[in-house]
C-alpha cells in the first residue's frame, strides 16, 4: 500500500515553546488513521501543519492527493445558511453542487437554517459535507461525531467506512475511544508534542502498563503473598481481585498455586483493560 502522507521530523513552536518536536509518521492510502492526545498535546497543530493552515520551522510533510478538511464548529459566518455555505464552497472549488451529498448528511431540511441557529451536530454535518465537496483523496476529520446523537453517530460511522471502501484516506482527531477502536486502522498518541505510541488499537490494548483485572472465588481463602505476577487489590463478597500486566503469566501462576495447595476455583472473571484506560495511561503518564 503506498503512502498518502509522510511526516518527517516535524517541529512547530509558538513563541519559543515547542508544541510538537521532531515527530515522524506515515499514513497509508485507504487507511483510517487516528491522532489522539490530551488537550494541548499538539494534535490540532499537527493536523493544521499537514492541512497547510499553519507553517512550521523544521521537518518535511509530503501529501499525495487532494485534501478535504472538516473543521470543528464556529468556523462559518453566523448568519450564512447551510445551502449558501455549500454553494459558496462548491463555486470556489469549481465543482457542481452535489445535492446528493448535501442530502446524505441530512442538510436538505436545514438548507435555509442560519449557522448560528444550528445545533453542534448539524454544524458538524455541514462541515463534513463541505470537506467532501471536492472529492478529496485525503479527508481530515476533527472530532467528527462530537455532539451527534446515537443515530447520527452510527450513520456517520457507516459513511466513514464507505469512504474507506472508496479508497479514501481518513485522518481523524477524536476523544471517543470506542469510535477510534471500531474505525481506525492505526493510532498515534501525542504527549507533550512527541509521539508516545504508534500502532494499532489491538497493539495499544495489549501493551503498556494497564493491568487487566482477575476476580477469583476459591473454595479456600487466598492470601496476598500467593501472588507474584499480579497485584492484590482486595477482597469483596468472597471474590479476590488482582491486577496483572501479563494476564497469561498471572493466570498460570494462580492456577499452579491453586493446584499445589489443592484449592478449587468456584468462579473466575477477567476484565481486560480498555483502549480508554490505555490511552489515559499514556496521555497522563500514570506509572505504577
Amino acid at each position: 500500500m503506498s503512502v498518502a502522507i509522510r511526516v518527517d521530523n516535524l517541529t512547530k513552536s509558538y513563541g519559543g515553546h515547542k508544541v510538537i518536536e521532531k515527530i515522524s509518521f506515515e499514513v497509508a492510502e485507504g487507511e483510517i488513521f487516528a491522532l489522539l492526545g490530551a488537550n494541548g498535546a499538539g494534535k490540532t497543530t499537527t493536523l493544521e501543519c499537514i492541512e497547510g493552515i499553519r507553517g512550521y520551522e523544521e521537518g518535511t510533510i509530503e501529501v499525495k492527493g487532494k485534501l478535504g478538511v472538516q473543521l470543528q464548529s464556529s468556523s462559518l459566518p453566523e448568519n450564512i445558511t447551510a445551502r449558501e455555505a455549500f454553494k459558496l464552497f462548491c463555486k470556489w472549488n469549481k465543482v457542481a453542487e452535489n445535492m446528493e451529498l448535501f442530502a446524505n448528511f441530512g442538510l436538505a431540511e436545514l438548507q435555509n437554517k442560519q449557522y448560528k441557529a444550528m445545533s453542534t451536530g448539524q454544524k458538524r454535518r455541514l462541515h463534513l459535507a463541505l470537506a467532501l465537496i471536492n472529492n478529496a483523496d485525503i479527508i481530515f476529520l476533527d472530532e467528527p461525531t462530537s455532539g451527534l446523537d446515537v443515530e447520527g453517530r452510527v450513520s456517520l460511522h457507516k459513511y466513514i467506512r464507505g469512504l474507506r471502501e472508496q479508497g479514501k484516506t481518513l485522518i481523524m482527531a477524536s476523544h471517543d475511544m470506542a469510535e477510534v477502536e471500531s474505525l481506525c486502522d492505526k493510532i498515534i498518541i501525542l504527549k507533550d508534542g512527541v509521539i508516545a505510541f504508534s500502532g494499532t488499537a489491538a497493539e495499544l490494548t495489549s501493551s503498556y502498563l494497564s493491568k487487566s483485572k482477575i476476580q477469583l472465588k476459591t473454595k479456600m481463602p487466598l492470601a496476598k503473598q500467593d501472588f507474584l505476577y499480579s497485584t492484590y487489590m482486595g477482597m469483596q463478597q468472597g471474590y479476590i481481585t488482582v491486577q496483572a500486566v501479563e494476564i497469561g503469566d498471572a493466570l498460570l501462576e494462580l492456577l499452579n498455586h491453586l493446584k499445589a495447595s489443592q484449592n478449587e476455583v468456584l468462579d473466575l472473571k477477567i476484565e481486560r483493560a480498555s483502549l480508554e484506560q490505555r490511552f489515559m495511561e499514556i496521555a497522563t503518564e500514570v506509572k505504577e
Binding site: 493552515i53 473543521l71 463555486k91 470556489w92 442560519q114
Partner: protein, 238 residues
C-alpha cells in the same frame, strides 16, 4: 469570477441579515438625518445649502468606521479564516466582499438622503449632480478603505470600539459637518485635515472637480490601501 461574484452577492445578503450592520449602515444615519435635518434647517436656514452633504458625510463615516470593521475582525480573527483557507476560498475575498457590500449599502443610504432632504427639509440639491456623485463615490471608497484597515489592524471588538470612536468623533467635530471649521481654533482646524470627512465635505460641496481637494483623499486611500494589502497578504501566515 463566478465564485467571486457569488461571494460578493452573498456578503450583501449576510449584511442585510445582520442587525448591527443595518443599524450602522441605515437606521442610525437616517434617524440622525431626520432629527438633525429638522433642527439644522429650522435654526439656521443656511444649513439647507449643505444639509445633503453633511448628513451623508455623517452616515458614510459612521458606516465605514463603526460598521465595516467588526465583520473583518470576526472573520480574520476566528476559525472562519481556517475554513476559508482549507475550503479553497482566497482570504482576500472576505475583505473585498465586505468592502463591496458596504459600498453599495452606504451608497443606497446616501441616495435616500439625497432624495428625501429636498422634500423633507427643503435642502438645496447639489449644483453639479455628476460631480456630487463622483465625489460621493470617492469619499465612500476612501472611508471604507480606512474602515477596512481598522478591521484588519485591530484584533478585538472591544479595542475596535475605542479606536473607531477616536477616529469617528473627531471626524464629525472637526470636518465642518456640524459647524464651520472657521469657528475652530487653528490647531483643531489643521488636525481636522487628516480625516477623510473634511475633504469629503469639500469635494461634495464643490460644483467642479478640483484636483487639490481630491489629492488628500487619494493620499489617505493609498496609505490605508497599502496597510490593507499588507495585512491581507500576511493573513493566515504563522
Amino acid at each position: 469570477m463566478d465564485a467571486f461574484l457569488y461571494g460578493a452577492m452573498l456578503q450583501w445578503k449576510l449584511d442585510l441579515r445582520n442587525k448591527v450592520i443595518l443599524l450602522t449602515y441605515y437606521v442610525v444615519p437616517l434617524v440622525f438625518f431626520g432629527f438633525m435635518g429638522a433642527i439644522f434647517s429650522s435654526i439656521n436656514p443656511e444649513a439647507k445649502n449643505s444639509l445633503i452633504q453633511s448628513m451623508t458625510i455623517f452616515g458614510v463615516t459612521m458606516g465605514a468606521f463603526l460598521g465595516t470593521p467588526p465583520p473583518l475582525i470576526e472573520l480574520y480573527g476566528s476559525d472562519i479564516m481556517k475554513a476559508y483557507k482549507v475550503g479553497g476560498i482566497p482570504l482576500w475575498t472576505a475583505a473585498v466582499n465586505n468592502f463591496i457590500s458596504a459600498f453599495f449599502h452606504l451608497f443606497i443610504m446616501s441616495f435616500i438622503i439625497f432624495l428625501l432632504a429636498p422634500l423633507a427639509f427643503g435642502a438645496k440639491v447639489p449644483e453639479n449632480i455628476s460631480v456630487y456623485f463622483f465625489a460621493l463615490t470617492v469619499f465612500i471608497i476612501v472611508s471604507l478603505s480606512v474602515g477596512t484597515a481598522l478591521g484588519l489592524l485591530i484584533k478585538s471588538i472591544s479595542k475596535l470600539t475605542i479606536f473607531s470612536q477616536i477616529i469617528f468623533l473627531p471626524s464629525l467635530m472637526l470636518s465642518g459637518i456640524m459647524f464651520p471649521t472657521s469657528l475652530l481654533p487653528s490647531v483643531l482646524e489643521k488636525a481636522g485635515m487628516i480625516f477623510p470627512a473634511t475633504w469629503g465635505l469639500k469635494t461634495m460641496l464643490s460644483s467642479e472637480l478640483r484636483l487639490n481637494l481630491f489629492l488628500p483623499l487619494l493620499m489617505i486611500f493609498l496609505l490605508s490601501a497599502s496597510i490593507n494589502i499588507y495585512k491581507i497578504s500576511r493573513a493566515g501566515i504563522e
